[in-house]
Amino acid sequence: MNLDDPAVADILGRAMVARIATVSRNGRPHVNPLYFVCGNGKIYLGTTDGTLAARNVKANPRVTILFNVEREPGDRRVLRINGNAKVRTDFSQNRWYVLRDLRKYILTRRGLANTLAHARLLLLVARFVASGEKGKACVFEVRPEEAEILAAPKQTGNDELSQLRLNPS
Protein backbone atom coordinates (compact mmCIF):
# COMPACT_ATOMS: atom_id res chain seq x y z
CA MET A 1 0.00 0.00 0.00
CA ASN A 2 1.24 3.51 -0.72
CA LEU A 3 -0.14 6.95 0.06
CA ASP A 4 -2.07 6.98 -3.22
CA ASP A 5 -4.01 3.85 -2.32
CA PRO A 6 -7.64 5.02 -1.96
CA ALA A 7 -8.07 3.39 1.46
CA VAL A 8 -4.85 4.95 2.77
CA ALA A 9 -5.66 8.36 1.27
CA ASP A 10 -9.13 8.22 2.79
CA ILE A 11 -7.76 7.74 6.31
CA LEU A 12 -5.03 10.33 5.87
CA GLY A 13 -7.66 12.77 4.65
CA ARG A 14 -9.77 12.26 7.76
CA ALA A 15 -7.00 11.96 10.37
CA MET A 16 -6.02 15.00 12.40
CA VAL A 17 -3.34 13.77 14.81
CA ALA A 18 -0.49 11.37 14.07
CA ARG A 19 1.19 9.30 16.78
CA ILE A 20 4.83 8.90 15.76
CA ALA A 21 6.93 6.21 17.45
CA THR A 22 10.70 6.47 17.50
CA VAL A 23 13.57 4.78 19.30
CA SER A 24 16.62 6.38 20.85
CA ARG A 25 20.23 5.61 20.04
CA ASN A 26 20.22 3.02 22.82
CA GLY A 27 16.91 1.50 21.79
CA ARG A 28 14.46 3.16 24.16
CA PRO A 29 10.98 3.68 22.69
CA HIS A 30 9.06 6.92 22.52
CA VAL A 31 5.77 7.97 20.97
CA ASN A 32 4.02 11.30 20.84
CA PRO A 33 1.09 12.91 19.08
CA LEU A 34 1.82 15.56 16.46
CA TYR A 35 -0.04 17.47 13.78
CA PHE A 36 0.80 16.47 10.22
CA VAL A 37 0.22 17.24 6.57
CA CYS A 38 0.83 15.16 3.43
CA GLY A 39 2.48 16.19 0.19
CA ASN A 40 4.85 14.95 -2.50
CA GLY A 41 4.19 11.35 -1.46
CA LYS A 42 5.52 12.04 2.03
CA ILE A 43 4.20 12.85 5.48
CA TYR A 44 5.35 15.96 7.30
CA LEU A 45 4.99 16.42 11.07
CA GLY A 46 5.71 19.65 12.88
CA THR A 47 7.77 19.78 16.08
CA THR A 48 10.98 21.33 17.42
CA ASP A 49 14.49 20.01 17.15
CA GLY A 50 15.12 19.74 20.88
CA THR A 51 12.39 17.21 21.55
CA LEU A 52 13.10 13.60 22.38
CA ALA A 53 11.41 12.56 19.12
CA ALA A 54 13.74 14.80 17.09
CA ARG A 55 16.82 13.54 18.90
CA ASN A 56 15.65 9.97 18.29
CA VAL A 57 15.04 10.53 14.58
CA LYS A 58 18.53 11.99 14.22
CA ALA A 59 19.93 8.85 15.86
CA ASN A 60 17.64 6.33 14.13
CA PRO A 61 15.49 7.41 11.17
CA ARG A 62 13.10 4.45 11.41
CA VAL A 63 9.62 5.58 12.51
CA THR A 64 6.16 4.09 12.81
CA ILE A 65 3.11 6.32 12.66
CA LEU A 66 -0.51 5.61 13.62
CA PHE A 67 -3.45 7.57 12.24
CA ASN A 68 -6.97 7.29 13.63
CA VAL A 69 -10.08 8.50 11.83
CA GLU A 70 -10.90 11.16 14.40
CA ARG A 71 -13.41 12.97 12.24
CA GLU A 72 -15.66 9.89 12.36
CA PRO A 73 -15.84 8.82 16.02
CA GLY A 74 -17.38 5.42 15.22
CA ASP A 75 -14.74 4.55 12.64
CA ARG A 76 -12.20 2.19 14.24
CA ARG A 77 -9.82 2.03 11.32
CA VAL A 78 -6.22 2.82 12.19
CA LEU A 79 -3.58 3.35 9.53
CA ARG A 80 -0.06 2.31 10.42
CA ILE A 81 2.82 3.54 8.31
CA ASN A 82 6.43 2.47 8.66
CA GLY A 83 9.08 4.61 7.08
CA ASN A 84 12.21 6.66 7.31
CA ALA A 85 12.26 10.17 8.70
CA LYS A 86 14.53 13.15 8.30
CA VAL A 87 14.65 16.19 10.54
CA ARG A 88 14.28 19.26 8.30
CA THR A 89 15.25 22.59 9.84
CA ASP A 90 15.59 24.61 6.65
CA PHE A 91 13.45 27.72 6.34
CA SER A 92 11.80 26.80 3.03
CA GLN A 93 10.61 23.42 4.29
CA ASN A 94 9.35 24.89 7.55
CA ARG A 95 7.49 27.67 5.74
CA TRP A 96 5.93 25.10 3.39
CA TYR A 97 4.80 23.07 6.41
CA VAL A 98 3.50 26.00 8.45
CA LEU A 99 1.32 27.28 5.62
CA ARG A 100 -0.29 23.88 5.16
CA ASP A 101 -0.60 23.35 8.90
CA LEU A 102 -2.39 26.69 9.26
CA ARG A 103 -4.73 25.83 6.39
CA LYS A 104 -5.55 22.42 7.86
CA TYR A 105 -5.81 23.23 11.56
CA ILE A 106 -6.43 26.94 12.07
CA LEU A 107 -8.02 28.46 8.97
CA THR A 108 -11.15 26.33 9.22
CA ARG A 109 -14.44 27.08 10.90
CA ARG A 110 -13.62 24.82 13.86
CA GLY A 111 -10.01 25.91 14.01
CA LEU A 112 -10.90 29.58 14.11
CA ALA A 113 -13.64 29.01 16.67
CA ASN A 114 -11.22 27.10 18.89
CA THR A 115 -8.54 29.77 18.54
CA LEU A 116 -10.97 32.61 19.27
CA ALA A 117 -12.37 30.77 22.28
CA HIS A 118 -8.84 30.64 23.71
CA ALA A 119 -7.64 34.01 22.47
CA ARG A 120 -6.45 34.90 25.96
CA LEU A 121 -3.84 32.12 25.68
CA LEU A 122 -2.35 33.14 22.35
CA LEU A 123 0.26 35.41 23.87
CA LEU A 124 1.42 32.59 26.15
CA VAL A 125 1.64 30.23 23.17
CA ALA A 126 3.69 32.79 21.25
CA ARG A 127 6.02 33.23 24.22
CA PHE A 128 6.28 29.47 24.67
CA VAL A 129 7.28 28.99 21.03
CA ALA A 130 9.65 31.96 21.08
CA SER A 131 11.33 30.74 24.27
CA GLY A 132 13.00 27.98 22.30
CA GLU A 133 12.78 25.76 25.36
CA LYS A 134 12.49 22.71 23.11
CA GLY A 135 14.71 24.01 20.35
CA LYS A 136 13.93 25.50 16.96
CA ALA A 137 10.94 24.67 14.81
CA CYS A 138 11.54 21.69 12.55
CA VAL A 139 9.64 19.23 10.40
CA PHE A 140 9.90 15.46 10.25
CA GLU A 141 9.84 14.46 6.60
CA VAL A 142 8.73 10.84 6.48
CA ARG A 143 9.13 8.67 3.42
CA PRO A 144 6.57 5.86 3.81
CA GLU A 145 7.68 2.33 3.07
CA GLU A 146 4.81 0.17 4.30
CA ALA A 147 1.21 0.93 5.10
CA GLU A 148 -1.41 -1.30 6.67
CA ILE A 149 -4.88 -0.77 8.00
CA LEU A 150 -5.71 -2.13 11.45
CA ALA A 151 -8.78 -2.02 13.64
CA ALA A 152 -8.51 -0.15 16.92
CA PRO A 153 -9.62 -2.36 19.82
CA LYS A 154 -12.79 -1.41 21.59
CA GLN A 155 -12.03 0.89 24.50
CA THR A 156 -13.09 -0.93 27.64
CA GLY A 157 -14.41 1.37 30.31
CA ASN A 158 -13.27 1.12 33.89
CA ASP A 159 -16.89 0.48 34.84
CA GLU A 160 -16.37 -2.99 33.48
CA LEU A 161 -13.57 -3.64 35.93
CA SER A 162 -16.07 -4.49 38.60
CA GLN A 163 -17.17 -7.39 36.45
CA LEU A 164 -13.68 -8.75 36.10
CA ARG A 165 -11.69 -11.16 38.13
CA LEU A 166 -8.22 -9.79 37.80
CA ASN A 167 -5.38 -11.71 39.32
CA PRO A 168 -2.00 -10.12 38.75
CA SER A 169 0.82 -12.61 38.67
Binding site: V17, V63, G111, L121, L150, T156, N158, N167
Partner: protein, 125 residues
Protein backbone atom coordinates in the same frame (compact mmCIF):
# COMPACT_ATOMS: atom_id res chain seq x y z
CA UNK B 1 12.17 32.89 37.34
CA UNK B 2 9.07 31.85 35.41
CA UNK B 3 8.52 29.41 32.58
CA UNK B 4 5.57 28.42 30.46
CA UNK B 5 4.21 24.90 30.65
CA UNK B 6 1.52 22.69 29.15
CA UNK B 7 1.87 20.06 31.86
CA UNK B 8 -1.00 19.33 34.21
CA UNK B 9 -1.33 17.06 37.20
CA UNK B 10 -2.11 13.48 36.24
CA UNK B 11 -5.25 13.59 38.34
CA UNK B 12 -6.58 16.39 36.14
CA UNK B 13 -6.25 14.17 33.08
CA UNK B 14 -7.47 10.99 34.73
CA UNK B 15 -10.78 11.16 32.91
CA UNK B 16 -8.87 10.62 29.67
CA UNK B 17 -7.95 7.17 30.86
CA UNK B 18 -11.55 6.34 31.67
CA UNK B 19 -12.51 6.54 28.03
CA UNK B 20 -9.14 6.48 26.22
CA UNK B 21 -10.20 8.12 22.97
CA UNK B 22 -6.93 7.26 21.23
CA UNK B 23 -4.44 4.96 22.86
CA UNK B 24 -1.31 3.31 21.63
CA UNK B 25 1.75 1.59 22.99
CA UNK B 26 5.23 1.84 21.52
CA UNK B 27 8.18 -0.44 22.06
CA UNK B 28 11.45 -1.18 20.35
CA UNK B 29 11.72 -3.83 17.66
CA UNK B 30 14.81 -5.27 16.03
CA UNK B 31 14.90 -2.66 13.30
CA UNK B 32 13.08 0.27 14.86
CA UNK B 33 9.99 1.30 16.75
CA UNK B 34 6.82 -0.73 16.88
CA UNK B 35 3.46 0.62 17.88
CA UNK B 36 0.00 -0.83 18.29
CA UNK B 37 -3.41 0.69 19.01
CA UNK B 38 -4.55 -0.56 22.41
CA UNK B 39 -7.31 -0.61 25.00
CA UNK B 40 -6.48 0.86 28.39
CA UNK B 41 -7.82 0.33 31.90
CA UNK B 42 -6.59 1.80 35.15
CA UNK B 43 -6.79 -0.14 38.38
CA UNK B 44 -5.10 0.93 41.61
CA UNK B 45 -2.71 3.21 39.74
CA UNK B 46 -1.67 0.40 37.46
CA UNK B 47 -2.10 0.84 33.74
CA UNK B 48 -3.59 -2.25 32.11
CA UNK B 49 -3.07 -2.42 28.38
CA UNK B 50 -4.83 -4.70 25.91
CA UNK B 51 -3.31 -5.41 22.52
CA UNK B 52 -5.37 -7.38 19.98
CA UNK B 53 -3.98 -10.90 19.86
CA UNK B 54 -3.95 -10.52 16.08
CA UNK B 55 -1.39 -7.72 16.41
CA UNK B 56 1.82 -8.13 14.48
CA UNK B 57 3.88 -7.95 17.66
CA UNK B 58 3.60 -7.65 21.41
CA UNK B 59 6.08 -6.32 23.94
CA UNK B 60 7.69 -8.92 26.16
CA UNK B 61 7.91 -9.15 29.95
CA UNK B 62 10.07 -6.41 31.51
CA UNK B 63 10.41 -4.69 28.16
CA UNK B 64 10.26 -0.90 28.25
CA UNK B 65 7.16 0.57 26.64
CA UNK B 66 5.55 3.96 26.27
CA UNK B 67 1.78 4.27 26.51
CA UNK B 68 0.13 7.39 25.14
CA UNK B 69 -3.54 8.24 25.49
CA UNK B 70 -4.52 11.41 23.72
CA UNK B 71 -7.60 13.40 22.80
CA UNK B 72 -8.62 16.47 20.87
CA UNK B 73 -8.51 17.69 17.28
CA UNK B 74 -8.21 21.45 17.55
CA UNK B 75 -5.10 23.05 19.04
CA UNK B 76 -6.51 24.07 22.41
CA UNK B 77 -8.38 20.77 22.78
CA UNK B 78 -5.23 18.63 22.59
CA UNK B 79 -4.53 16.65 25.74
CA UNK B 80 -2.46 13.57 26.45
CA UNK B 81 -1.18 11.22 29.09
CA UNK B 82 2.29 9.75 28.58
CA UNK B 83 3.40 6.74 30.61
CA UNK B 84 6.85 5.18 30.33
CA UNK B 85 7.28 1.90 32.12
CA UNK B 86 7.95 -1.81 31.98
CA UNK B 87 5.70 -4.68 31.01
CA UNK B 88 4.33 -6.92 33.73
CA UNK B 89 2.30 -9.96 32.76
CA UNK B 90 -1.14 -10.52 34.18
CA UNK B 91 -1.77 -14.06 35.25
CA UNK B 92 -5.41 -14.09 34.37
CA UNK B 93 -8.01 -11.61 33.30
CA UNK B 94 -11.20 -13.55 32.93
CA UNK B 95 -13.98 -11.89 31.08
CA UNK B 96 -11.69 -9.61 29.21
CA UNK B 97 -9.06 -11.93 27.81
CA UNK B 98 -11.10 -12.71 24.71
CA UNK B 99 -9.14 -11.76 21.68
CA UNK B 100 -6.83 -9.46 23.58
CA UNK B 101 -3.39 -9.90 25.08
CA UNK B 102 -3.37 -7.95 28.36
CA UNK B 103 -0.42 -6.73 30.36
CA UNK B 104 0.27 -4.12 33.01
CA UNK B 105 2.67 -1.23 32.68
CA UNK B 106 4.67 -0.52 35.81
CA UNK B 107 5.28 3.19 35.37
CA UNK B 108 8.67 4.80 35.79
CA UNK B 109 7.42 8.16 34.50
CA UNK B 110 3.94 9.50 33.89
CA UNK B 111 3.06 12.99 32.74
CA UNK B 112 0.03 14.72 31.28
CA UNK B 113 -0.35 17.84 29.20
CA UNK B 114 -3.30 19.95 28.15
CA UNK B 115 -2.96 22.81 25.67
CA UNK B 116 -5.96 24.65 27.13
CA UNK B 117 -4.05 24.83 30.44
CA UNK B 118 -0.93 26.51 29.11
CA UNK B 119 0.25 28.85 31.85
CA UNK B 120 3.18 30.48 33.50
CA UNK B 121 4.65 28.77 36.56
CA UNK B 122 7.60 29.28 38.86
CA UNK B 123 10.67 27.56 37.48
CA UNK B 124 11.79 25.20 40.21
CA UNK B 125 14.51 23.53 38.17
Amino acid sequence: MKRITLKVDLSEARELLERAPRACVAFAGDEGPRTEPVSVLVKDDRYLVGVPSSAASHPTVDEEVVLVVDDGLQFFDLRAIYVRGHVQLLDEMEGLAGEMFWFAVQPTRAVAWDYAHIREVDDES
